[in-house]
């Protein structure tokens, strides 16, 4: 199912080298290196506390690692900050949903267009000049995403009133609204039932297929990871213990020991 014919996996788009991150005495990540290729679905898995979310936070600049470099689209840097990450086409979702709960789904997704807005504050406030034309264009993009993720029925519903599974989808929608080249998903299926998980898998695959978005995915659910990922990196206690295709990872003895259970 994941292998959909002519979706071409390209060159390395993101490379992290020898990243180490610690909080005081706690070593969250130790000497981690891996790469992500263009258009691929790359999973990072590992038991609780393995450092998966920390790794994502390093990639999009929330944490500043003590050691190591990040190379994104050929540009090497030690520290990525969140604004630079967003401006360079990296969008993300969060493990604990981080939406504006009092706003409607539509408005929440609209905020994803923030970086694309050219009109000044005054123009927007008075809805004159560029603001008018721009808003229509942004609304069109947002409507396409609403259609894509099948959120029409909750378009004007405040997010606070939505069930958990739909909120997760709204978060994905907001990330997509930024038209990212790379999407970081932090446990998109956590806490979902079977049906919601299936829907989410479909949406992740469709996003990857239709927009060619590179996807870096953290996930607990092994079934999901093995089904939809092109390559999987495995972390344990802040160290990388395995890397490769789902089949390779599955037969890696270290991974079996650390994650899938002994024997």
């Amino acid at each position: 199912m994941s292998d959909s014919g002519n979706r071409k996996i390209g060159d390395v788009i993101l490379k992290v080298d020898n990243i180490s991150l610690s909080f005081g005495g706690v070593k969250a990540l130790t000497n981690i290196s891996f790469d992500v290729r263009e258009h691929e679905i790359r999973a990072i898995i590992g038991p609780n506390g393995a450092g998966k979310s920390s790794m994502l936070n390093v990639i999009n600049g929330v944490y500043l690692p003590q050691e190591g470099t990040i190379t994104y689209r050929g540009e090497q840097r030690r520290d990525m900050n969140t604004h630079a990450a967003a401006a360079s086409g990296i969008a993300r979702t969060f493990q604990n949903i981080a939406l504006f709960t009092g706003m409607t789904v539509l408005d929440n997704i609209m905020t994803g267009r923030n970086l694309k807005v050219k009109a000044t504050f005054l123009e927007q406030a008075l809805w004159i000049g560029r603001a008018r034309k721009e808003e229509m264009e942004h609304r069109r993009v947002v409507e396409e995403i609403i259609d894509f993720l099948q959120l029409q029925h909750v378009r004007k519903t405040p997010v606070a009133r939505l069930p958990y599974g739909i909120k997760k989808r709204v978060e994905l929608a907001r990330a997509l609204a930024a038209e990212p080249t790379m999407l970081l998903l932090d446990e998109p299926m956590a806490g979902m039932n079977v049906e919601e998980k299936q829907d989410m898998c479909r949406f992740v695959l469709d996003t990857n297929d239709q927009f060619g978005t590179t996807i870096v995915l953290i996930e607990h659910d092994m079934g999901v990871v093995m089904d939809i990922s092109d390559r999987v990196a495995v972390l344990d206690y802040g160290k990388k213990i395995g890397d490769g295709t789902p089949a390779e990872v599955r037969s890696n003895p270290d991974v079996i020991k650390a994650y899938l259970g002994a024997h």
Partner: protein, 647 residues
């Protein structure tokens, strides 16, 4: 009375008489998009020519599967332009169910909505079906499919434009060849018993039925309908296709199945058709929201609903009403009924129909009392959903009205309703035995429903003729009738009654998760899900009250007083069409259920108080699992029979 015409000719006439009037609308990307009659005609022509280019010819069947979409309604016409037959199929059917119909109808061409349907057809193809050409309207997720014969609707139309140029005049010649006696559509019956049968209906049948209905209710070109019921259902075909092309009104397609309520409000249809369960769902929602409303609002609502109950229906029927009541009703309209109708999206409705199952008297009266002209009709797939209609101002909640224009209705000796007229089916597809069985020598179609005429000539349907049984005592037992009584309680979603050849009547109950869930929340009753809630002692008490109320009513109904429910249980799972317990139109398959839950039925009749059961369930993705539960059984109070005079 109907001049010999066909649906493609009707479409052509609208396109030339009113080319810029709106024919179809669909909400897309949050905006209502319109197809004018001339645009509709052009698209139909392109689709038809595209099909012709692929080799579709006179007499071929075209499968149509998906939610209500303008392109799919056009697909009906495109097949008919070429003298083909449209075969709409239920969009939520699983691949296996589809395979049967595809094979039975020898379908080689299919126009479908999206990837979901394409996947099912490809699965059917693997199992040996010969669906050579699959055309989809929504390309999402299908970019990398390269199955042979698979293409998008856009590319079909492109092909059609080219073919039309190369074969100038062929399309028009094909359209002219069509006659009103040709089969226009084949609708598969839901199959309460046995395999589904293809009901062949001619252009004439549906056009006569549509013309009758249009004249009866004075439908005009400026009317609007919202089409959201399955396209494979005869009701939708009559209301959103046949009447659309006869009256020339506008058909509006919702954005998605989940947005129907929102779309209903935006469109404000003037003509509306829904099975009772939709009206019931709407009312349940209103009642739940009212319970959460402020005291003042609740007081206003209760006060004015009492006024409406007293005089609303009379005002609607044009009967004499006192000036004081008129004034109160006008105030009520200002404060309650008007805003309520607006919320429901029913402000502009001139005529609304319900059919397909019995509607609860309270439910029916509620809508009429707030000024919605809700009426009942009766019909089957085999009669184009057109046998009897309730004339304005002659509305009774327990009858289905008088014979519609050009229909002859009579009763057989055993009470079965017989129907004759142009709307009766031509035949069951490839089933001469079934055709001969249901149409007699005089041309009467045997409906299988048992009915009676009242003194004013209104038909009243009691039950399926074959379902009407006898208790061991010999008293009449009409399970449907009792089940409907139970289902009229908002807390009960489904009910199944047993009692044929037995001493007493027993019942399975399905609670309504929304209504009972809300009721439980209000009482701080904690539950973890459907099974847990269904087994709660408090819920059993709630349901027992409902059952006993139904018993009290039955006690006043003569022979049926013997059918009072002795014992009941609340099922641990919802009855579901995916598990074959309901038909796709949500009718209870009593025999199947009795077999599947045999131990429960036995436990009811043998007087046990608890019974363990393990049940197979099918998930939406086709996998199966099982759930187990210990089910409690409870007795209900029965009442001595009361004669009408005493009541």
């Amino acid at each position: 009375m109907a001049e010999a015409t066909t649906f493609p000719r009707l479409l052509r006439a609208h396109a030339s008489a009113r080319p810029t009037a709106p024919a179809l609308r669909e909400k897309y990307l949050g905006i209502w998009q319109t197809w004018t009659w001339s645009e509709t005609q052009t698209e139909v022509r392109e689709m038809a020519c595209g099909l012709a280019a692929l080799g579709f010819k006179r007499g071929d069947n075209l499968a149509i599967i998906g939610d209500n979409r303008p392109q799919l309604y056009m697909a009906f016409a495109s097949a008919q332009c070429l003298g083909g037959v449209a075969v709409p199929m239920y969009q939520d059917a699983v691949a296996d169910e589809m395979t049967y119909v595809l094979d039975n109808a020898e379908v080689k061409f299919a126009i479908v909505e999206d990837q979901e349907q394409v996947d099912k057809l490809l699965e059917a193809r693997e199992k040996g079906s010969h669906v050579d050409h699959i055309i989809f309207s929504d390309p999402r997720g299908l970019r990398n499919y390269n199955a042979p014969g698979l293409q998008s609707l856009d590319s079909l139309r492109e092909l059609g434009r080219k073919w039309d140029k190369e074969h100038a005049g062929t399309f028009d010649a094909e359209l002219e060849k069509g006659t009103s006696k040709d089969v226009s559509v084949m609708l598969y019956t839901s199959g309460t018993t046995g395999k589904p049968k293809g009901v062949c209906q001619t252009h004439e049948a549906f056009i006569v039925a549509a013309q009758g209905g249009v004249a009866f209710d004075k439908l005009v070109a400026t009317d609007n309908v919202l089409s959201y019921l399955p396209m494979a259902w005869v009701g939708d075909h009559l209301f959103s296709y046949a009447q659309w092309l006869v009256a020339g009104f506008t058909v509006n397609c919702p954005e998605s199945a989940e947005t129907v309520m929102i779309d209903l409000r935006e469109i404000g249809p003037t003509y509306y058709f829904a099975p009772p369960r939709v009206f019931e769902g709407l009312l349940t929602n209103v009642m739940i929201r009212m319970e959460d409303a402020s005291k003042l609002k609740r007081w206003l609502f209760d006060k004015f609903m009492a006024v409406a109950k007293r005089s609303g229906a009379n005002i609607l029927d044009g009967n004499e009403v006192s000036a004081g009541d008129k004034l109160m009703y006008a105030l009520g309209n200002l404060f309650v009924y008007g805003p309520l109708k607006n919320t429901l999206g029913m402000s502009r409705i001139r005529v609304a129909y319900t059919a397909g199952a019995a509607i609860g008297p309270d439910l029916f009266r509620f809508y009429r009392s707030i000024g919605i002209n809700l009426k009942q009709l009766y019909g089957q797939t085999e009669t184009c959903a057109y046998v009897t209609l309730q004339p304005d101002r002659q509305i009774k909640f327990d009858s289905v009205g008088k014979a519609a224009p050009s229909v002859e209705v009579k009763l057989a000796e055993n009470g079965e309703v017989l129907v004759r007229g142009p709307m009766v089916l031509k035949e069951y597809y490839k089933r001469p035995d079934a055709t001969a069985e249901s149409i007699d020598k005089e041309g009467y179609f045997h409906t299988g429903d048992a009915g009676v005429f009242d003194t004013e000539g209104h038909l009243k349907i009691i039950d399926r003729a074959k379902d009407v049984g006898r208790l061991a005592s010999g008293a009449m037992f009409a399970p449907n009738y009792i089940e409907n009584k139970l289902k009229f309680f908002p807390h009960i979603k489904e009910a199944v009654c047993f009692g044929h050849d037995k001493d007493n009547v027993m019942a399975f109950i399905n609670i309504d998760l929304t209504a009972v869930g809300n009721w439980a929340e209000r009482r701080n009753l904690v539950y973890s899900g459907y099974i847990d809630l269904a087994g709660k002692a408090e819920v059993y008490d709630l349901i027992r009250d409902c059952v006993e109320k139904a018993n009290a009513e039955l006690a006043t109904e003569g022979e049926l007083s013997h059918s009072q429910i002795a014992r009941f249980l609340v099922l641990h799972k919802e009855l579901d069409p995916d598990d074959d317990e309901l038909t796709r139109t949500r009718k209870v398959r009593r025999g199947f259920i009795a077999e599947k839950y045999g131990p429960l039925v036995d436990a009811l009749f043998t007087g046990k108080t608890v019974q363990h059961i393990e049940t197979q369930v099918k998930f939406e993705d086709g996998r199966t699992g099982s759930i187990a539960a210990d089910i409690k059984i409870m007795g209900a109070k029965r009442f001595p029979a009361v004669t009408k005079a005493a009541a």
